[in-house]
C-alpha cells in the first residue's frame, strides 16, 4: 500500500456555490413577483413576458434546477471527492458540466418568458433544452461514476448511495417524460395523450421532488450534518433500510397527484397506499439526522450551521409526513387544487432544500477560503428571518387552502352551493396572499443578508483552489469481507444496477398497464380531434400558462358537477390532448366544461379585461392577444405531427387545414359582430383562443355547432 498525494478540486465547488447564490436570489425574486401578482395583477407591468402564467414556471425552474440544482452539484463535488479520497474523475467534464448547466438555465430564463413551454410542470423546457439537459446529465454521470471507480476508499458511504440513486433515476424520469415530437425549433407535442400523459408527467413530477430535491439532499445531509456536528452517524442499519425502502417506494407514489381525476382507480389507490408506506422510510432519514446530533445539542444553539440543518431536517420530516397525509383520498378531496399544496411544497422547498443549502454554504465556504465566517450574528439573523419567512409563508397558505376548499364544497339548506360564484372564494383569501408575499419577502431578505455575509467571508479569506490530501491506494485484489451490504458497498457497478432495478419496478408496474390495457381509457365515440383553429388556440393557452391557474378536471364531487354545470371529466375525453392540461391548482375556476357556457363576446371582453366580466378577479388582462396575428405557417406541420401521434386527421387534411382555420375564424368574428357589434380581425390570436375555450369539454354533449369540413373522415 502506497500513500498517495493528490489534490481536491475546490474551484468547481466555488463555481457551483456562486451559481447557487446568484440563481437562488433570482429564483426567489421571481417567486416574490409572482406572489405579488396574485393580489395585484398589474404587477406584471402589462407585458406578456412577465405575466403570471409565464413567470410561474420560470420561478419553479429557477428554484428547482438553478438554485437547488447548483447547490446539489456544489455539495456533491465537495463531499464526493473527500468521501472517496480522490479528485474528480475529469476536470474537463466538471467544467463542461458546470458551464453546460448554466447555459441550460440561461436558455430556460429566456425561453420561458417568451412562452416556449411544454406546459408539463417542472418539465416545461422545450425539446432542444431537454436534449441539452440529457447530455449534461450524462456528463455529470460519467464524471461521478468515474470518480467512484478511481476511489481510494474501498466502501461507498451512504451519501454516495444517494448520489447514485439521484443520477440514475433523474436520467430515467427525464428521458421518459420528455418523449415529444417537435414541430419547430421551440415547439413540440408530448408523445403521450390525456390520461397517459398525466400519469407519466406525475410519475416524473413527483419523483423530480423525490430524486432531485430529496435523495441528493439526504446525501448532502449525511455528509455535512455529521461533519458540522462532529458526531458519528446514529445508525448504519437505519441508513441501509431507509435508503432501499425510500428509493423503491417513492417511485410508486406519483399517482397521488391525480386522485379523483380520470386516472384509473387502481392506479390512484396504488399512489395513495405507497405514499402512506413512504412515511417510515422518509422519517428514517430525519431520525438518522436528528439522532446524530445526540450530545451536540448544546452546540446547536450557538452554531448557525447546525441551526439551519436542524430546521432543514425537521422541515423534511414535517413535509414527508404531510405529503402522505395529503395523499389519503378524503384529505386530498379537501386539499387538492388549493393553496394547501403550495404551502406544502414551500415547507419542503424553503425549509428542507433552502435551509440545508444555507447551512452547507455557511460551513463549506469558510473551509475553502481558510477563514471563519465573517459574521455569526448576521448568519443568526438570516436563520431567524428565514424561519419567520417560512412561518409567514406557510400558515396563510394553509389557511387560504382550507378556507377556499370548504367554501367550494359548502351547500346551503336548499341543497345548493353556498358560494355559487367562484370569485367569492377567491376574494376571501386575497389577504392571505398578501401575508404570503410578506413571508416570501422575509425569506428573500435573509438570502440577501447571507450573500453579503458570504461575500465578506470570501473577501477576508484566501481561496484554496486545490486542497492537498493524501490517502493509501486501494489494493486491487483484496477479497471483500463482512456482511453482504458492506460487500455491496465496495461494488459500485452492482450497486448501481440494483438501484436501477429498484427504481424501475414501480414505474413499470404503473405505466405499462395504463398504456396497454384499453379498458383503462374507455373511448367515447363523440370525442373528435380539435379543429386547426382550436389546436392553435390550445397552443396559445399553453403558451400563456393558463394551466398554472386553471384546471381542466371536474372531479366526481357533487359540488363540482353543480358548479361547473356538467358531468365530471371522463378519461375518454382527453385522448387527443397532447399534452394533457389538467392542471394542479385552481386559482381560477376549472375550465373543462366552460365550452359554450358563455358567449364568444363574453370571452372577448373577459380576456381584454377580466374585471369587466368578473369584478374582483385576480386574472391579468391579455391585451397582446388582441394585437398579435396568429402564425398559421406551422398548421400543416402540427396536423402531421398530431396524426403521427395517433390523432385521426384524415390523410391530406394538412393541405386544407388553413382554409378550415380561416373559415372558423370568420364564423367567430361574425358572431362577435352580431352579439355585441365587436369588430375584430379574424387573424388575431384571441379568435383562436376563443375557439378553443368554446370547444372545451363539449364533445361529450355532442357537437352540433361543428360546421367546418369533417376532419377525420371526409364524406362519411
Amino acid at each position: 500500500m502506497a500513500l498517495e498525494q493528490f489534490q481536491y478540486d475546490n474551484k468547481i465547488v466555488k463555481y457551483f456555490s456562486l451559481a447557487t447564490i446568484v440563481f437562488g436570489l433570482v429564483g426567489m425574486l421571481v417567486g416574490l413577483m409572482a406572489a405579488i401578482q396574485l393580489f395585484y395583477p398589474v404587477f406584471n407591468f402589462d407585458t406578456q413576458y412577465t405575466t403570471f402564467g409565464r413567470i410561474r414556471p420560470l420561478h419553479t425552474n429557477a428554484i428547482i434546477f438553478a438554485f437547488v440544482g447548483n447547490a446539489m452539484f456544489a455539495g456533491v463535488y465537495y463531499s464526493m471527492q473527500r468521501l472517496l479520497k480522490t479528485r474528480m474523475f475529469s476536470d474537463l467534464l466538471s467544467y463542461i458540466h458546470f458551464w453546460g448547466w448554466q447555459l441550460i438555465i440561461v436558455a430556460a430564463a429566456v425561453t420561458l418568458p417568451l412562452g416556449f413551454t411544454t406546459s408539463k410542470e417542472y418539465a416545461e423546457l422545450e425539446w432542444p433544452i431537454d436534449i441539452a439537459i440529457t447530455l449534461i446529465w450524462v456528463v455529470f454521470g460519467i464524471n461521478m461514476i468515474g470518480t467512484i471507480l478511481k476511489r481510494r476508499e474501498r466502501h461507498m458511504y451512504v451519501a454516495i448511495w444517494f448520489y447514485i440513486a439521484t443520477f440514475v433515476t433523474v436520467a430515467v424520469l427525464h428521458v421518459v417524460n420528455s418523449f415529444e415530437i417537435p414541430v419547430g425549433i421551440f415547439k413540440s407535442y408530448s408523445m403521450y395523450s390525456g390520461v397517459q400523459d398525466a400519469l407519466v408527467q406525475w410519475w416524473y413530477g413527483h419523483n423530480a421532488v423525490a430524486f432531485f430535491l430529496t435523495t441528493p439532499f439526504l446525501g448532502l445531509m449525511y455528509y455535512y450534518l455529521p461533519k458540522a456536528a462532529n458526531r458519528p452517524v446514529y445508525s448504519y442499519k437505519l441508513s441501509i433500510i431507509h435508503f432501499w425502502s425510500l428509493i423503491f417506494i417513492y417511485i410508486w407514489a406519483g399517482p397521488h397527484h391525480l386522485l379523483y381525476t380520470s386516472l384509473p382507480d387502481w392506479a390512484q389507490s396504488l399512489g395513495m397506499v405507497f405514499s402512506v408506506m413512504l412515511i417510515a422510510p422518509s422519517w428514517g432519514g430525519m431520525l438518522n439526522g436528528l439522532f446524530t446530533l445526540r450530545g451536540a445539542w448544546d452546540r446547536v444553539r450557538e452554531d448557525p450551521v447546525l441551526k439551519f440543518m436542524v430546521v432543514a431536517v425537521t422541515a423534511y420530516g414535517m413535509a414527508t409526513l404531510e405529503g402522505p397525509l395529503l395523499s389519503i383520498k378524503s384529505i386530498n378531496a379537501i386539499a387538492h387544487f388549493t393553496d394547501w399544496i403550495v404551502a406544502h411544497v414551500h415547507v419542503g422547498g424553503l425549509g428542507w432544500n433552502g435551509f440545508l443549502t444555507f447551512g452547507m454554504l455557511y460551513w463549506m465556504i469558510p473551509k475553502m477560503w481558510k477563514t471563519k465566517i465573517y459574521s455569526v450574528k448576521l448568519a443568526n439573523f438570516h436563520f431567524w428571518i428565514g424561519t419567520l419567512g417560512i412561518v409567514f409563508y406557510a400558515l396563510p397558505m394553509y389557511w387560504a387552502g382550507v378556507t377556499q376548499s370548504l367554501m367550494w364544497q359548502e351547500f346551503n339548506a336548499n341543497g345548493q352551493l353556498q358560494y355559487a360564484n367562484f370569485l367569492e372564494t377567491v376574494v376571501q383569501i386575497v389577504p392571505m396572499y398578501m401575508v404570503r408575499a410578506l413571508g416570501g419577502a422575509l425569506y428573500l431578505t435573509g438570502a440577501i443578508v447571507m450573500t453579503y455575509n458570504l461575500a465578506k467571508t470570501m473577501g477576508q479569506g484566501s481561496f484554496m483552489a486545490n486542497e492537498e490530501a493524501e490517502a493509501y491506494a486501494l489494493e486491487k485484489d483484496q477479497a471483500p469481507k463482512g456482511r453482504w451490504h458492506h460487500v455491496l458497498e465496495s461494488k459500485p457497478i452492482q450497486f448501481t444496477i440494483l438501484t436501477t432495478v429498484a427504481i424501475l419496478i414501480g414505474g413499470i408496474f404503473e405505466l405499462v398497464p395504463t398504456f396497454l390495457i384499453k379498458s383503462n381509457v374507455p373511448t367515447i365515440a363523440s370525442v373528435k380531434p380539435y379543429t386547426p383553429l382550436e389546436l392553435e388556440g390550445r397552443d396559445i393557452y399553453i403558451r400563456e400558462g393558463c394551466v398554472s391557474c386553471h384546471t381542466q378536471m371536474v372531479r366526481p364531487f357533487r359540488d363540482e358537477t353543480l358548479r361547473y354545470q356538467g358531468e365530471y371529466s371522463k378519461a375518454g375525453e382527453f385522448v387527443y390532448d397532447h399534452p394533457f392540461l389538467w392542471g394542479s391548482k385552481r386559482t381560477g375556476p376549472d375550465l373543462h366544461r366552460v365550452g359554450r357556457k358563455y358567449l364568444d363576446s363574453w370571452h372577448y371582453q373577459h380576456m381584454l379585461d377580466p374585471t369587466s366580466m368578473s369584478p374582483g378577479s385576480l386574472m391579468p388582462s391579455y391585451p397582446w392577444l388582441f394585437e398579435q396575428a396568429l402564425n398559421t405557417s406551422k398548421v400543416p406541420d402540427k396536423i402531421n405531427a398530431m396524426r403521427s401521434l395517433g390523432v385521426p386527421y384524415q390523410q391530406g387534411y394538412e393541405s386544407i387545414a388553413v382554409d378550415d382555420l380561416n373559415t372558423q375564424a370568420q364564423q367567430i368574428t361574425k358572431r362577435l359582430k352580431e352579439e355585441l357589434g365587436i369588430d375584430v380581425l379574424p387573424e388575431l390570436e384571441i379568435v383562436a383562443l376563443i375557439s378553443y375555450l368554446q370547444r372545451l369539454g363539449t364533445d361529450i354533449k355532442g357537437n352540433p355547432t361543428a360546421s367546418i369540413s369533417e376532419i377525420t373522415q371526409k364524406g362519411e
Partner: protein, 351 residues
C-alpha cells in the same frame, strides 16, 4: 363548529388577518425573547440540563404523538369514505378537520410545554446545578434510549463501526422499534386497502361515491319539495309573484350585482346580455317569464340556468329586482331587442 366559524369569516373578511397577526405577533415576541435570552443566559443554559435532551426529546415526542394519531387517523380517514360522500359529507369533513385540530392542538401544547421549560431554565439564574437535576436528566436520557432502543451515549464505543469516511464515523444502533412497527403497520394498511377496494370491491370507489351522493341529494330535494308543499307550496314559475318589499329588492340587488351585472351591466343597460330597462323583451317581460329565463336560462345564447345555483326565493328576489329596473333609462344602454311588451295588458290577461 367550522360552519359557524366561516360564516363569521365571510362577514368580516379582515378577521383571519387579525387573528393571524395576533398569532404572528405572539410568535415574534416569543422568538425575540428567546433570542435575547439566548444571548444573555447562554452560558447558564449551557450548564443547565434540560434543554440538551429535552430539545431532542420534545421533538421526538411531538413526532410520536403525530405518528400515533396518524396510525389511528389514516385508516379512519380513508375508510370514512365508505359511509360518506368522498369527503363531501359534513360528518367526514368534520371528522377530518377534528383530527387536524387535534394534531395542531397537541403541537401547540408541546410547544407551550417546551417554552415553559425554557422559561424555567431562564428563571433559575443563580441556582447551581443540583444533584436532583442531574439525576432527572439521566432518567430522561434513559427513557429515550429505551424508547428508541439506542445504546446510551456513554457506551457508544461498543457499537462504533470501523467505518471512517473523511472523518465521519458510523454507529450501528438498532432501528427504533416504534419506527419499525409503524413501517409494518403502514404496509399492512396498504395491502388491506388494496384488498378492500380493488380485490373484494367491498367499498365504493370515487365514481360510485359520486353516484351515491347524487342519489342522496335527489332524495333530499324530494323531501324539501314535499315539505314546501305542506307549507303551501314553494315558489315556481306558476306561483311566483312580484314583490316590492325592501328585503326582497335588496336581496335581489345583491344577487344581481354579483351574478348578473357582468353581462347585463350594473344598471341593467345591457352588454353581452340584453337591456333589461327598456320595454322590449326577447323572452317575455312578465314576472313569471323573467323567472323562467332566470331559472332555466337560455343556454344557446349564453344565459346560464340559475336553478342549480340560486334558491327559488333568490330567483324570485332577483326577478323582482329586474322588474324594478324598467324605465330607468340608463345612459348608453343597449339598443332594444325582441318584442315590445305591454305590462298592463299581460297582467290583466293573467288575472
Amino acid at each position: 363548529m367550522f360552519k359557524h366559524y366561516f360564516e363569521l369569516v365571510e362577514n368580516v373578511s379582515v378577521w383571519p388577518l387579525v387573528s393571524l397577526t395576533i398569532f404572528f405577533g405572539f410568535f415574534l415576541i416569543l422568538i425575540l425573547w428567546l433570542f435575547k435570552v439566548d444571548k444573555k443566559y447562554i452560558r447558564k443554559m449551557k450548564n443547565l440540563p434540560l434543554d440538551d435532551e429535552s430539545k431532542d426529546g420534545s421533538s421526538i415526542s411531538t413526532k410520536m404523538i403525530i405518528v400515533l394519531l396518524l396510525m389511528l387517523g389514516s385508516p379512519v380517514a380513508s375508510f370514512a369514505q365508505d359511509s360518506a360522500g368522498s369527503g363531501m359529507d359534513t360528518q367526514t369533513m368534520l371528522a377530518v378537520l377534528a383530527l387536524f385540530v387535534l394534531i395542531i392542538a397537541v403541537l401547540v401544547l408541546v410547544v407551550a410545554v417546551y417554552t415553559l421549560s425554557l422559561l424555567k431554565v431562564a428563571m433559575q439564574k443563580d441556582e447551581p446545578e443540583t444533584e436532583m437535576v442531574a439525576q432527572k436528566e439521566k432518567q430522561r436520557n434513559w427513557f429515550w434510549d429505551q424508547f428508541n432502543k439506542s445504546v446510551p451515549q456513554e457506551k457508544e464505543a461498543t457499537i462504533l463501526l470501523d467505518h471512517n469516511y473523511d472523518g465521519i464515523r458510523e454507529l450501528d444502533n438498532h432501528l427504533p422499534p416504534w419506527w419499525t412497527a409503524f413501517f409494518y403497520i403502514s404496509i399492512v394498511f396498504g395491502v388491506v386497502y388494496m384488498l378492500i377496494y380493488h380485490v373484494f370491491s367491498a367499498a365504493p370507489l370515487p365514481g360510485e361515491l359520486y353516484d351515491i351522493s347524487v342519489a342522496e341529494a335527489q332524495a333530499a330535494a324530494v323531501e324539501r319539495l314535499a315539505a314546501a308543499e305542506e307549507e303551501g307550496g314553494g315558489i315556481d314559475e306558476s306561483t311566483v309573484a312580484f314583490s316590492d318589499e325592501s328585503s326582497v329588492i335588496d336581496s335581489g340587488k345583491k344577487i344581481y350585482d354579483m351574478q348578473c351585472a357582468s353581462c347585463h351591466r350594473n344598471d341593467g343597460g345591457g352588454n353581452i346580455g340584453p337591456n333589461l330597462t327598456d320595454e322590449y323583451w326577447l323572452h317575455g317581460g312578465s314576472m313569471s317569464e323573467i323567472f323562467v329565463s332566470v331559472k332555466y336560462g337560455i343556454p344557446e345564447k349564453g344565459m346560464i340556468a340559475w336553478e342549480p345555483l340560486l334558491s327559488p326565493e333568490q330567483m324570485r328576489d332577483v326577478s323582482s329586482y329586474i322588474m324594478t329596473l324598467a324605465g330607468t333609462n340608463p345612459p348608453n344602454a343597449k339598443a332594444p331587442q325582441g318584442e315590445l311588451y305591454q305590462a298592463e295588458d299581460q297582467e290583466v290577461d293573467a288575472s
